[in-house]
């Protein structure tokens, strides 16, 4: 199977902007849902390229998560698995309070999430030789 890089996200702004012209898999789910979807992909051979707990806006505050992964591997990448499991464990520690924020904040959460992903993609595009991160 050919390897390809995909953004898995529940952030509609990421889906709309499609940063780096990368394929986007948009999921109607919450923060934890994105982590779970990524975990399932890791079980099927995907590798994480960005850290699942990027940013200082905590789980429970921001509803959004966008992860860059590389699909198509033929074995489970243990480093990716360890990171995603630890992220899910961390996520469970935080109270859910994303519902508190008004419409203006929702847009801001989307912008910050996109900005952090773009920062990672900047590195990604400038150093393609590191694509096969292990």
């Amino acid at each position: 199977m050919k390897q390809k890089n995909v953004i898995v996200t529940n952030n509609p702004l990421v889906s709309e902007k499609q940063p780096g012209n990368l394929p986007v898999e948009y999921l109607e789910t919450d923060y934890m849902g994105v982590l779970k979807a990524a975990r399932d992909k890791i079980h099927s051979g995907a590798t994480l390229l960005t850290h699942p707990l990027y940013g200082s806006v905590k789980p429970g505050e921001t509803p959004y998560r966008s992860l860059l992964i590389r699909e198509g591997g033929n074995k489970v990448d243990l480093q990716s698995l360890r990171l995603i499991e630890a992220a899910m464990e961390t996520c469970r520690k935080f109270e859910e309070r994303t519902g508190l924020f008004g419409a203006g904040s929702v847009r801001d959460f989307q912008v910050v999430d996109l900005s952090l992903l773009m920062s990672a993609l900047g590195d990604f595009h400038e150093s393609r030789q590191t694509l096969s991160y292990k």
């Binding site: 960005t50 940013g55 200082s56 905590k58 464990e89 109270e95 801001d108 910050v112 952090l116 920062s119």
Partner: protein, 426 residues
């Protein structure tokens, strides 16, 4: 590299027609400072206020805290790459206005961070309840994009701090401290019997409201590099990050880094302080690998015996922290790491998102999930409109009696990971 740091003690701040420092009092002309701030085209208006220790004042949302300084002798200027040119700083003579700070505050995005209480229980947790604070709140021109707004507020803060520092240029310092760091060859010869120790400082570097700058360079784009520790005293590292304010380093903390200060205090006595390595905390996993590899390589090149590593933030930086620790230890160099904890409100959960057996010497800055009640204060500088929306706050945060129930996360500097705060554990 030798730096003389002259301390000008500021006992009071008041507004006046003309900006000057006289008999330890800083007189501030709002008009003069407004002109400096209004150079930024993104800023529509700015207001200034003063908050003094012990007053019933709450400042929120805080973006940065900056200590005014001026370069009196030697190459370069304060905040190189931001306000001054990019000449290498850290030698000669610098004056600092001690006992005060410039605090930038105001909304940039709709969820906001950073509380400084000048009195009450909250004041016990933030180092900036002890400083006389000149607070500037900037409002943007309508429609300004968040990145541009952040940049305009950040730069304005540095310009105002530099302008206030400039007022001290012709003054006599109340006290002077000399910091001297030898070059490699010289330090090998001078302290043959002492353990060679360096400081590895990890810098938050992930994007909007999560960035740090080294000589004006966005830290996410650097390879780890080596500094004379005196360079940071001239503002070589500045902050552009404030999200989850308890464990972020405002510029003030970079200028007054406690690890640097304490290593200098032991330099030539119990250890040989070789230098400061700065590295980043990026989103992309390959960057984390690359930066920790390079950091460990620099440690080996310097022939170190020991390293102190300080983290900035929580979550994904735990991965950088553990990578740095493991790889430096693998070079046969002892490490001590400084972090903080998100151990749940009861303190019983796993503290870090990553761990390793090599991390067997750990200093904590406290548990950021700890709940505190902050009583209502008489005056708010900035706005409380966001207080329910800051990290660590929840729907019941703003209670009927006006008090706030919040996690320590919201308090600027409360669990600082350079040891600048007051919390720890044994």
């Amino acid at each position: 590299m030798k730096l003389e740091l002259g301390k000008i003690l500021i006992h009071d701040i008041c507004f006046a027609e003309k900006s000057e420092i006289r008999d330890g009092v800083l007189y501030v002309s709002k008009e003069e400072l407004e002109k400096i701030v209004m150079q930024e085209e993104g800023i529509q208006s700015v207001s200034f206020d003063i908050a003094k220790p012990g007053e019933s004042v709450r400042i929120t949302p805080v973006k940065d805290v900056i200590e005014p300084r001026v370069k009196v002798e030697g190459p370069g200027g304060i905040f190189p790459g931001m306000v001054a040119g990019v000449e290498t700083v850290g030698s000669g003579k610098t004056y600092a206005l001690k006992g005060m700070a410039v605090v930038t505050a105001g909304p940039i995005v709709g969820f906001q961070e950073g509380v400084i209480d000048m009195t009450g229980p909250g004041a016990e947790y933030t180092p900036f309840s002890k400083t006389l604070n000149l607070v500037m709140v900037c409002t943007p021109v309508p429609g300004l994009e968040a990145h541009d707004y952040e940049s305009a507020v950040r730069l304005s803060g540095f310009r105002v701090a530099a302008a206030l520092g400039e007022l001290a240029r012709e003054l006599q310092p109340d006290e002077t401290v000399v910091y001297e760091c030898s070059d490699l060859k010289e330090s090998f010869e001078k302290y043959p019997g002492l353990p060679r120790v360096a400081y590895v400082q990890m810098l938050q570097s992930q994007g909007l409201l999560h960035d740090t700058y080294v000589y004006g360079v966005d830290a996410k784009k650097i390879l780890p590099t080596l500094l004379y520790p005196t360079e940071v005293m001239d503002g070589a590292i500045v902050s552009g990050n404030c999200v989850s304010a308890c464990d972020k380093n405002p510029t003030y903390i970079h200028e007054n880094n406690s690890v640097v200060e304490d290593l200098f205090a032991q330099h030539g006595k119990t250890l040989n302080f070789v230098g400061q390595i700065v590295t980043n905390e990026n989103v992309y996993l390959a960057d984390k690998e690359r930066s920790s590899n390079q950091t460990a390589k620099l440690c080996r090149m310097l022939g170190l015996d020991g390293v102190i590593v300080s983290q900035e933030g929580f979550g994904n930086p735990d991965t950088d922290l553990i990578m740095n620790c493991k790889k430096i230890e693998a070079e046969g160099i002892k490490t001590v790491i400084i972090t903080d904890e998100y151990a749940g409100r009861d303190g019983k959960s796993q503290s870090l998102a990553d761990a390793d057996v090599a991390a067997d010497a750990v200093v904590t800055g406290g548990n950021a999930n700890e709940l505190v009640i902050l009583p209502k204060l008489d005056k708010v500088i900035g706005t409380l409109a966001y207080i329910n929306k800051i990290a660590g706050a929840n729907a019941e945060t703003l209670r009927e009696d006006g008090s706030l129930a919040v996690e320590l996360q919201v308090i600027t500097g409360a669990t600082n990971e350079t040891g600048f705060g007051r919390l720890s554990a044994r």
